[in-house]
């Protein structure tokens, strides 16, 4: 039986504009991969804001815990995940 958790989602950069209101949480399970996680986040953001327009940023964002997950890497047991848009420091 797949164990689901309500995991906290941290948004950065341009995505942060969508982190309004209550803390963002989505249902995750250990076998979920980043693509599925982003889809769950998009669904939740659409639920909160029907005219959510940040799909492009979301699709290009990496999923991270204490490291950046590869696209085939399962989310594992963490209860908090970060979405990292394309980076441009310096």
């Amino acid at each position: 039986m797949t164990r689901h958790s309500q995991s906290r989602v941290l948004l950065f950069g341009k995505l942060k504009a969508y982190a309004v209101g209550e803390e963002l949480r989505v249902a995750t399970h250990p076998g979920m991969i980043p693509r599925e996680f982003r889809e769950a986040v998009a669904e939740e953001l659409h639920r909160r804001c029907p005219d959510f327009s940040g799909v492009a940023e979301l699709v290009s964002s990496a999923v991270a815990t204490d490291h950046v997950l590869s696209e085939r890497e399962p989310l594992g047991e963490a209860l908090e995940y970060s979405l990292l848009p394309p980076v441009c420091g310096g």
Partner: protein
């Protein structure tokens, strides 16, 4: 902030609130065995792609930034010598035009390694470290700059350049 020594090599990584003070870099790089010291400062400039910039806001995932910078510094040492001393400072928050957003200092026995190591560090920082910037323009508009996607091939050490980065 992380600070460590490895085979007598000094490393300092610090993500700061606000702008970087230039003096912090040279203060840290005092090694009598090193004849080459290379320092890079990145400053907020007032023009980008024809738009007048008044300020830039920097945001960072601090833990992952420090982790990736540690990896990048290890790579630089594997290329140009374990004796290399390194300091990397990056500012966060809203910085005005002219303020220093990033400072990288590298010292090594000889100048060639210092120059090359310093260049490597800033180039890799720009494409691999989770830092983002939002430009603020004189007309009141603001825009998050496009950058390099971390997610396409794997972790940050397997990054792939996604969107074309605006010159920053």
């Amino acid at each position: 902030m992380t600070e460590s020594s490895f085979i007598n090599a000094y490393t300092k990584i610090e993500i700061l609130a606000g702008a970087v003070r230039p003096g912090l870099v040279t203060e840290a790089l005092e090694n009598p065995a090193h004849g080459g010291i290379a320092v890079f400062y990145g400053a907020v400039r007032n023009l980008n792609h024809g738009r007048i910039v008044t300020a830039v806001s920097y945001e960072c995932h601090q833990a992952l930034a420090e982790k990736e910078l540690t990896t990048i510094i290890s790579e630089a040492r594997s290329k140009w010598g374990d004796a290399m001393d390194v300091i990397v400072l990056h500012g966060t928050g809203r910085l005005r035009v002219g303020e220093i957003s990033v400072a990288i200092g590298v010292s090594s026995p000889h100048r060639s390694e210092a120059f090359e190591g310093c260049r490597y560090l800033i180039e890799e920082l720009k494409t691999r470290v989770p830092i983002w910037k939002q430009e603020h323009y004189i007309d009141g508009d603001s825009e998050w700059l496009k950058g390099h996607a971390l997610c396409q091939q794997g972790g940050a050490s397997e990054h792939h350049s996604g969107d074309t980065s605006r010159r920053a």
